[in-house]
């Protein structure tokens, strides 16, 4: 897994992740989201365009972060999850509580 976080106008953080979010990579993913929250950034776009797979603890990290964002009045949205990830979101029905967007513009517009 590799990632890069960009801070956009309006203080929106976008996490661009590439690869599989499994094992220790999940810890890094979790810590990166934690860091955004610790530094007061609670508007997160998690870009899953290049993520082929996530494990259940990555799912847990998303759920925890989502709830933290909501508590402080922010939001976490997912961008463009691919087939395997989309399936996990549907089976667990997380897709019903997390906003999911196809394009970066639409994801950013969700915070306006």
């Amino acid at each position: 897994m590799n990632f890069e976080t960009t801070i956009e106008t309006g203080n929106i953080s976008t996490l661009h992740i590439a690869g599989k979010i499994l094992g220790n990579a999940t810890d890094i993913f979790r810590k990166e989201m934690e860091l955004q929250l610790q530094t007061g950034r609670d508007k997160l776009v998690v870009d899953l365009t290049n993520v082929s797979l996530i494990d259940s603890s990555a799912l847990g990290a998303i759920v925890t972060t989502l709830k933290c964002c909501q508590e402080s009045g922010g939001k976490l949205v997912l961008l463009n999850p691919q087939k395997a990830v989309q399936e996990v979101l549907e089976v667990t029905q997380l897709a019903t509580v997390i906003e999911i967007y196809d394009t970066e513009e639409a994801a950013r517009a969700a915070f306006m």
Binding site: M1, N2, K31, T39, T49, N50, S57, K83, V91, V97
Partner: protein, 408 residues
């Protein structure tokens, strides 16, 4: 008393910068400019936390961690690794070696303070408050750890006892189960609860997260279910009550997925609710497979979760198979799927992903092919198919399976 932070970097400017930044926050700051003196300083006067640069001449950060983890006085000192930007390999290796967190250079000073505070916040309670540690009286000693390992084994034994040793025998139905654990305490579970002469409650679930917290959650869910299933009838209402209980009592990253249903042996129906769990298969005599997806969200993360109940009718010879994702996520040569070091990859992977995992389609095919077998022979056929696919009988994840077949 101020907490002490040992800052290690071969760049003296960075040392000075960090010192100037951390001292006003109330920390005592010690410095070392190479790995060797860092180890010496940490041994002589163990700090509360170490901020450790990776790239240093003579002895790099990883070597320092390895040495410190071998020394009684320093092995529990939390370490934050300072790595260069984009070096994901370093971060993974650092966490593997025993670092608690990392910071990427060039760093934002606010980030440094936030990370230091977060790591100290996590380790402080373990050191000073954790009642288990205090009760042991020995702090972090070998003896204390041995005791902890003893408790862990006891927990695993209790958990094993909670799982039914064998599937119940019910007139008109053939039931078999399988449970394989990858660690001493498992997150997968199943249970059979007799409700009346003609009705039996069946649950199969998977607690996400790992270790003792996950095992405790499993016990909590199982106990709640055992009590609630006599009070409530609709599986959906039971899942809702379990969900609300777990939401209230646990952190959001601890949750479960589960299917609970009632098998009625007179009506030959299975009335169920699926809480975010991988869809069980219903194989019918006309070789059709449908999935049992009626239900709601995963259990224990959201208090607004709602659930619905579904029913399916079992004709003679019909089969229902419940499973956990440890089965469908079995990888080819299983290491590929579970090895985090293999996690750097490209986007082309989606194309081959279906070949990397055993998946629901293969499981459904295996079920169809072996549908004429008894329930236990069917379980064995699935295990064999998994071993063939992965090239190994070992498993990296817990696996659970229940097969219910109505007699012809």
């Amino acid at each position: 008393m101020a907490e002490t932070i040992l800052v290690v970097d071969d760049d003296l400017d960075i040392l000075e910068l960090l010192k100037m930044n951390l001292e006003p926050e109330g920390y005592d700051v010690q410095t070392a400019s190479d790995g060797e003196s860092a180890v010496q300083s940490a041994c002589t006067d163990p700090p509360d936390l170490i901020l450790l640069d990776v790239m240093m001449p003579h002895k790099n950060g990883f070597q320092v961690i390895e040495e410190l983890k071998d020394i009684e006085e320093t092995k529990n000192v939390p370490i934050i690794l300072v790595t260069a930007r984009g070096q994901t390999e370093d971060k993974v290796r650092g966490l593997d070696t025993g670092a608690d967190d990392y910071i990427t250079k060039p760093f934002d000073l606010r980030e440094v303070t936030a990370r230091v505070e977060a790591v100290l916040g996590r380790t402080r309670p373990i050191k000073y408050i954790n009642p288990l540690m205090r009760a042991m009286g020995e702090g972090f000693s070998e003896k204390g750890l041995e005791q902890l390992a003893g408790h862990l084994q006891a927990a695993a034994a209790i958990q094993k006892k909670l799982l039914p040793e064998q599937a119940p025998s019910i007139d008109g139905f053939d039931i078999a189960t399988l449970l394989q654990s990858s660690t001493s305490v498992s997150g997968d579970f199943y249970d059979f609860i007799p409700l009346s002469e003609t009705q039996i409650g069946i649950v199969l679930g998977d607690v996400k997260g790992s270790g003792i917290p996950a095992a405790l959650l499993m016990v909590m869910i199982r106990t709640a279910l055992r009590l609630l299933c006599h009070e409530e009838e609709a599986p959906a209402s039971i899942l809702k009550r379990i969900n609300d209980l777990v939401v209230r009592d646990t952190e959001a990253d601890l949750f479960a997925t589960m299917v609970y249903g009632i098998l009625d042996t007179t009506a030959s129906t299975f009335t169920y609710s699926n809480g975010g769990h991988c869809y069980p298969f219903h194989w019918t005599q006309n070789r059709n497979i449908t999935v049992l997806k009626t239900g709601g969200m995963l259990i224990g993360a959201f208090d607004e979760a709602t659930f619905t109940t579904g029913t399916c009718h079992l004709a003679p010879g019909d089969i229902i198979a419940f499973y956990t994702d440890g089965i469908t996520e079995t990888g080819t040569g299983d290491s590929t799927a579970a090895d985090p070091n293999q996690s750097i990859s490209t986007t082309h992977e989606d194309a081959i992903l279906t070949d990397m995992f055993y998946g629901g389609d293969r499981l459904a095919a295996c079920l169809s092919k072996n549908a004429s077998l008894s329930a236990s022979a069917l379980c064995e056929a699935i295990v064999e198919d998994l071993a063939r696919f992965s090239g190994s009988t070992q498993t990296h994840d817990d696996r659970a399976l229940i097969v219910i077949k109505r007699d012809v």
